[in-house]
């Protein structure tokens, strides 16, 4: 599983990365996490704002810090 956290590095982006890492650890799944900070690469996902979370190529959350339970549902389905 491949998870990308999109954001240039603001506090909300950092908090999103933390939530994603915690969700993965608690769910006990294997996943690669990549932090995407390049604005051109972020634009390629077509998101209106950041932070955003992408799971296996599908954008799951935009412009907010996701709830840990939501992240768990994305990585377990």
């Amino acid at each position: 599983m491949e998870i990308k956290v999109l954001g240039p590095g603001c506090p909300k982006c950092q908090q999103t990365e933390k939530v994603v890492k915690e969700a993965i650890a608690e769910a006990g799944v294997s996943a690669d996490i990549e932090k995407v900070t390049d604005t051109m690469k972020i634009a390629g996902y077509g998101v209106f704002g950041t932070p955003a979370v992408v799971v296996d190529g599908e954008v799951k959350s935009v412009g907010k810090i996701p709830k840990k339970e939501d992240v768990k549902s994305w990585i377990s389905s």
């Binding site: 954001g7 240039p8 590095g9 603001c10 506090p11 909300k12 982006c13 604005t39 972020i42 634009a43 996902y45 077509g46 998101v47 209106f48 704002g49 950041t50 955003a52 190529g57 599908e58 954008v59 799951k60 959350s61 935009v62 412009g63 907010k64």
Partner: protein
């Protein structure tokens, strides 16, 4: 996307225009372009939502402040939002604003300004809605990042 989108999407007004093939469709487009250039909001790609591209669809679902503009009662933009299971936000139909639909693409300045005013009025309902009700200003702590 520029850095100014960082942390700001909860305040940024998304503007979605039908951009259809009539005067009112193109009025929706021109108003969205000018309001974006003036910094009132940010035009977003309705075609991406219609194409079911996940970044666009999820953005439409997750953005709390939004104005959707249809040129006429056919309601293509509304249909796209429904198909995407995204909330309609504030919704305008330009023929309901008294602008007659035709195929003249020589847009009138007065019509463009009328549409822009209608979008501004619609979006301002966010600011006047009581807290906790639909349309209320989201409660957010100010961002401290250097990008915003």
């Amino acid at each position: 996307m520029s850095n100014d989108a960082c942390c700001a999407s909860d305040q940024q007004i998304m503007i979605l225009a039908c951009s259809g093939g009539s005067n009112v469709g193109q009025l929706s487009n021109q108003a969205a372009v000018e309001l974006t250039q003036e910094g009132f909001g940010k035009m977003f790609c309705l075609a991406g939502v219609g194409g079911q591209l996940s970044g666009f669809v999820q953005s439409a679902r997750d953005t709390p402040r939004m104005v959707v503009i249809d040129g006429c009662q056919v309601g293509c933009a509304r249909a796209i939002m429904k198909q995407a299971d995204a909330p309609l936000g504030h919704y305008l139909v330009l023929t309901d604003e008294g602008i007659e639909k035709n195929k003249d693409f020589n847009l009138r300045r007065a019509d463009i300004d009328q549409v822009k005013d209608a979008v501004r009025r619609a979006a301002q309902q966010d600011a006047t809605a009581p807290a906790g009700l639909p349309g209320a200003e989201p409660v957010q702590s100010p961002c401290t990042c250097s990008s915003c």
